[in-house]
Symmetry: C2
Subunit: 615 residues, 2 copies
């Protein structure tokens, strides 16, 4: 009896089998987990593998189930392909063998498994003998093509059915969501399938136009959140939603209008159309989540700060007034708690904290800092109210990280700073405030409590070169970054005693959150293997400065990694993979939320963490 | 060891048990089938029984699971009630222990199992420690009460949730459809649950207001179908829907407006409110079905006469503009074919043809006659285009079965007739036409081909007494029923040669349909055990007359039974029982439809059946 060896990728599992065995049999013998929905009859086409070595001619069944392109690429059905020589075979999806394409995000690979699926069908013509209804004829054709048994359709689709089927001369493309036909299009449109992932922030909304077939990102668009006109932070928007007549409706409309504009911009740039968009995924903080859905967020704003609904939701795009394909569906990621929203869930989905062996600390720092600590064994999260200092607000010469902002400062032989865009500085943004205060700490120019030393008290040799920059301002000392003649508006730019106090409150809140998560999980700094910084500010700050001022524990400095807009990445994953979207609910449910206000020692820990540690 | 005897109703099964056994244990010992979803832990409250004799004090668990009213009525939980004396116990649902009540329709018993279910819940108060979302708290409470695991809710409900939960001080009633919460009401409204079953006919719409808890019929309301303004029969309405701009919309609105009016009338009479109505069920012929749903019925009107959708449908009442509770759902029975609609399915559901051992012929006679022949082994159906003669249209002195119509005629020593209402006759309706022509056949006053004999040709002795009633009209003979002086309008009322021709076409079509169903199923008259007449005309006609003229085969005369508005009964069953509603899909699918036009010998059989058989 001739035997051959078959090697499975990824993983490299090897199996010896007798000639004529099928790849499926070899997989089973090798103990590789796989689903064969049709029982290995070559009918469902779900057990696609890619033959890398030892590719034979396709069988009739292969030709029937696979496209020409797939056949050329070496794709075969594991259940009917016989082994007649040594082979190397790639299992395309070891868990669930579907039409999946591997996508590499910054953090991890995943398989495309769109929520909506398209099937081109040619419906039979009725006759006096075969007098089946339009729906019956469509259903019979479709059931033969897909793995869904009990097809359903909403009334709106049945209303379209008779005209579409006749105008399209029986050739049409159906759009399926689970077992429901939600769209009908004349002709074969199965190649057109776009989606958009959105990260709705309090300040900024970012949208990613994605090709759902290839998983490719086509365009990125963004805009300021127009809800800002009703209040800059979540609390003022919650107040507006509750106090003003139609407040909630205005806020809801503002964000959906903005998203509709972004969709228009993205499809224009890509040369596509709104109706090509079938899926939208949403990551947002809990308040933005509620306002986007038109759910009253009042309860988030008052103790005990509970949200109305956290679970992942699927909503018709039309119900939200989103202008995409009529069949379009919106997939809203789940929240974790009132102040730890779906954006954090998206970060966890992107980073797969729930799968990690190593304890990891994840920080998404803004006006509210969301902090998650843990591993696959346990995850705890909290929200720390940092206030607006990191965004440059309530800082004497503070501004957002926009053109003209000093964004980074270094204390070398001379003071040096970089400016966003070209020209003269107009103010400082949060990352520069961090750098500046960190420098002052390292130069011994401020004490443990954040108070400026007088010029005559300075002792560090290096600090003496910056002594002249200490100026008096508003009855206290301040550190001059640029004098009036150097700035855009002709006024000096400095870091004042008050700015340092604001930063202390902000960093104290975040640092206290980190400490409390560590304390309540009994995790020490040494146990933490990696610190991931997500979000715009997290990716802009200088990690060294963050550690010097104690925003992040100093001993973790060399474990810091910036992971970009991980919430956006998570939203993209949720858009492209129905499995990952539903897993997000499990992730969100697995996170234990700690309300800092209910933690008995919060005030003490917060006060301690407003201080600076001097070396 | 003391033993007691427990007798179970209905059925009277008796069981001897040791003191302290539970009723559940006694049921198990007696071999009575029952479900205990929570495993007999006293948790689910599903195993309600009614203690008729030997009622003891309720336990704490009884008090928690059962309402005061239930406790007073002797309702207990079988799984935890101990037997301490001889007892008589009524099992409330032997198959599936739910809130089921046996309903006796004319034809058969069935159990109430409403589509929508109400649960009163008291949601916990959130705290800084238990900071679950509104939804999570609601879900946790509800899952403990019902057997549903993965509760879902539409966005519209989540939007109501925060305000309702707070205004109701955490005490509210949820309305469930399968696993979906579709309604929220402050306080305990679980006792209020009404529904309406509708039979939408081409001419008449009938509605039944039902109490969904008790299954009782509260009111019956009816109206003429206002679509009549756009055409009297289905073909003219199909034409109107297709040819006129907004034709479909007008027809759709006409019927939903009429139903809204009927709903208002029914709840007014019952002293209830529209918002107490949660379920609507619909039986209708296929064209009425499509127009009610706003689906274009064009394809029904042209060969091969296919419908757009036949399957049973569940639609939000709001989507159809029906003014009932916001959570209201509409359950539309399935059609069988283009001209055999959901009204026929409703008749089959009411008569349970699909369960019958004996071959049965069911006729619903109108402008279109729907005919079903078969038993649980096989069912065949057809639609016969009888034309309007049975409804009194295109008959010389014809009229609907309204006040003033001669509705029955007997040929005794003298001619006698009855009139609907009081006063003088205004015309004849279909049932009188049947009686009149049957009499003329029996008197030998018309020949096999339906032609009047001249007065001098009459030979039957009995006919001679009516000889004077033969008059000349429009160049042919006619039979005078009432002369000008006797009638309401001062014109004679007669049966003309033309009227007989019209009736021959009508009865020929129905009779041909019956013959073809028998022929194609290889069923002889002797095989048919029962003939069921459904619908208004079927319940008004004289079966003997129908058999004399050959509308129904003569040999079946003594097997005829009238079953009232069986379509309405079927709609009521579908309203009250989710299981029966879903079984309707199986029934509809099990019926083989025969398109008479495609039957090769139709023309010959039709022509034969226009004749009369003379004894």
């Amino acid at each position: 009896m001739t035997e051959f060896r078959i090697i499975f990728q990824p993983g490299g599992t090897s199996q010896q089998v007798v000639s004529g065995s099928t790849i499926m049999e070899a997989m089973n013998q090798a103990g590789l987990e796989a689903d064969f929905p049709c029982g290995g009859m070559g009918k469902c086409g779900e057990c696609r593998v890619k033959v890398i070595e030892g590719l034979g001619e396709p069988t009739t069944n292969d030709r029937f189930r696979l496209s020409m392109q797939e056949l050329d690429e070496g794709i075969r059905l594991a259940c009917i392909t016989e082994i007649q020589e040594d082979m190397v075979v790639e299992i395309l999806n070891p868990k669930k063998l579907q039409h999946n394409i591997l996508i590499s995000s910054e953090d991890r690979p995943f398989y495309i498994e769109t929520h909506l699926r398209k099937f081109f069908v040619e419906v039979s013509q009725p006759s006096l003998i075969e007098h089946k209804s339009d729906w019956q004829r469509l259903e019979e054709t479709l059931v033969g093509l897909c793995d869904v048994k009990n097809l359903k359709a909403p009334l709106s689709l049945l209303r379209q059915l008779p005209d579409t089927i006749r105008e399209a001369k029986n050739k049409l493309t159906t759009v399926l969501h689970d077992s429901k036909i939600i769209g009908l299009e004349p002709g074969d449109t199965s190649a057109t399938m776009l989606g958009m992932a959105f990260d709705i922030g309090t300040t900024t909304i970012v949208g990613y136009l994605m090709d759902l077939n290839s998983g490719k990102e086509l365009e990125v668009v963004s805009t300021l959140n127009p809800q800002a006109q009703y209040g800059g932070d979540v609390i003022s928007r919650i107040t507006y939603a509750g106090k003003q007549e139609k407040g909630l409706a205005s806020l809801h409309k503002a964000v959906t209008d903005a998203i509709n504009k972004l969709i228009g911009e993205a499809v224009d740039r890509a040369g596509a159309s709104r109706t090509s968009i079938y899926e939208i995924s949403i990551a947002a903080n809990t308040t933005m989540h509620h306002l986007f859905l038109g759910i009253n967020p009042q309860s988030i704003g008052v103790s005990p700060y509970v949200s109305v609904a956290n679970q992942g939701l699927v909503v018709d795009a039309s119900e939200l007034g989103l202008e995409i394909n009529g069949a379009g569906q919106v997939f809203v990621l789940p929240n974790i708690a009132g102040f730890v929203g779906a954006d954090t869930t998206a970060v966890l989905l992107a980073t797969e904290l729930d799968q990690r062996e190593d304890v990891t600390l994840i920080l998404d720092i803004g006006t509210n800092g969301e902090i998650v600590l843990g591993s696959r064994r346990k995850m705890v999260a909290c929200s720390a109210a940092a206030g607006p200092a990191f965004e440059g607000a309530q800082i004497t010469n503070g501004m957002r990280g926009a053109v003209g902002a000093i964004d980074h400062i270094t204390f070398g032989d001379n003071l040096e700073f970089t400016i966003i865009g070209e020209g003269r500085p107009a103010g400082i943004c949060g990352s520069a405030l961090l750098d500046g205060v960190a420098g002052l700490v390292e130069l011994g120019m401020i004490n443990k409590r954040g108070k400026f030393l007088r010029p005559d008290q300075l002792t560090y040799p290096k600090s003496l070169g910056f002594k002249d920059r200490l100026i008096e301002y508003d009855g206290a000392w301040a550190f001059l970054l640029a004098d009036a003649g150097e700035t855009l508006h002709g006024r000096p730019i400095m870091i004042t005693q008050n700015d340092i106090r604001e930063l202390q409150l902000a960093k104290g809140a975040i640092a206290a959150g980190v400490r409390i998560l560590m304390e309540s999980s009994d995790i020490q700094s040494d146990d933490i293997k990696e610190v991931l910084l997500a979000g715009a500010f997290g990716n802009y700050l200088n990690p060294h400065s963050a550690c010097v001022i104690g925003l992040i524990p100093r001993e973790l400095e060399n474990k810091i990694r910036m992971i970009g807009n991980a919430a956006g990445t998570g939203a993209k994953i949720a858009l492209l993979s129905a499995g990952e979207f539903s897993r997000a609910d499990e992730i969100a449910a697995a996170v234990s939320f700690i309300e800092l206000g209910s933690y008995s020692r919060f005030n003490i820990i917060f006060a301690e963490n407003t201080y600076f540690k001097l070396d």
